[in-house]
Amino acid sequence: MIDKKNFSIIYMILEKDFVSEFRDKLNLMYFLILAPTISLILFIFNNSDDFLYLYFLSVLIVSLLTNQRISRQEISPNGDLILINIPIDLSIFCLSKILFAFILNIFINLIVFSTFFLISNGLFFDDLKNFTILSIFFSLGLSTILTMFSLMLERIKAEGQFMLIMIYPLIVPFLILAKNSLIEINYMDFMEFINSFSLQVLIAFDILLLAICPILFSYSVRR
């Protein structure tokens, strides 16, 4: 349960992460180079002129490549989680890392968006509101899954490689749901899109992930 004390813990971890980020530019500078590079590679080597698909594919690939960096900051040189013995449920810690990854994912979206805006000579979608809504829920789900698994991967290293197989039941339905919403983004108006089955299932799945992933992380690390 997230009470006032847990909120303050989340705030403290986020504050620490942002201080580290702005001081060392650990991730943002990396995104700034990687995101346009991946976007340009996909644009050049993919014959499709469907910029919308290429946009979400770029965000997905950049997020996959960068999320591990965010989690690595929490691991000490001897392989332990630095905050392993904090007297709170580790799911609260995982939740704060998900929030941080989500905020950084918004930056990835902005950088990829700028790149596609330039290479497509303008807007590459018909409805800005639909696009924004889908980007937010796509980033939220992606940040949740990748943060939990990258934290687990850093922590368990070779001891629990089979646990990583668990990523598929989570990420595959999420990607299918995101793709279904993507098909509808350009021919529905905002209200239709909000009420569409595929977006509502995507939102429900995001909420489910947000509830399950931190608990799963806490359980796997401390057991």
């Binding site: 620490k16 332990d80 007297p87």
Partner: protein, 207 residues
């Protein structure tokens, strides 16, 4: 002395390698307990088990007559484990690390902050980033954080590593102060620097 930690038939294996077996001993309340043993004898593993960092073991550990597995994460309010290598955030300064850990652990001994900074002589290093500090200063910052958290049991794994002679004396002095005010210490040490503290009990581990 009242028993604070009771260890009964403890056994730990990594795959087929037995680290130790049938380990039973008591750690009295308000004592200084010395864990001895050569490298690879399982000192760090034992300390991690005592502090609930490792829960995969056979046997039982009782803290204040309650199995420590029953406490879940709340045990970390009572027992704090300090590893050999300091666990600090490199991007933060020494001061920011102290503030962050003090807040997140809801430290009970914050009024001792100035005294500890003075005792370990780290004042001039507080504004430096952790990745610019020597291993010795990092160790002192970690020790200060542990004392500020001020739990009932402090488990120190090789606390004298990286410290110079005067810092060792300072550490022993602070351990004595906290022990006098009721803290229990479990310390692993191969250098015998702990012997000046006249430990109340000890355990020798063998390979």
């Amino acid at each position: 002395m009242k028993v604070l930690l009771k260890i009964a038939s403890l056994e730990k294996k990594y795959n087929e390698n037995v680290v130790f077996t049938s380990l039973s001993f008591d750690i009295p309340e308000k004592s200084i307990f010395w864990i001895k043993g050569i490298n690879g004898s399982g000192k760090s593993t034992l300390m991690k088990i005592l502090s609930s960092q490792i829960e995969d073991y056979q046997g039982d550990i009782w803290y204040s007559e309650k199995n420590i597995k029953k406490f879940d994460y709340k045990i970390y309010n009572e027992i704090f484990y300090l590893p050999t290598s300091p666990n600090l955030y490199d991007s933060l300064s020494a001061r920011e690390n102290i503030d962050f850990f003090s807040k997140i652990f809801l430290s009970k001994g914050l009024n001792n902050r100035a005294h500890l900074i003075d005792a370990f002589q780290v004042e001039k290093h507080l504004n430096k980033r952790t990745n610019e500090l020597s291993d010795g200063i990092k160790k002192k910052i970690s020790l200060i954080i542990s004392f500020l958290i001020n739990p009932k049991v402090l488990i120190f794994d090789e606390p004298y590593n990286y410290l110079d002679a005067s810092s060792v004396e300072s550490l022993n002095r602070v351990i004595k102060e906290y022990n006098d005010s009721g803290a229990t210490f479990v310390i692993s040490d191969n250098s015998s620097l702990i012997s000046k503290l006249k430990p109340n009990g000890s355990l020798g581990l063998e390979v």
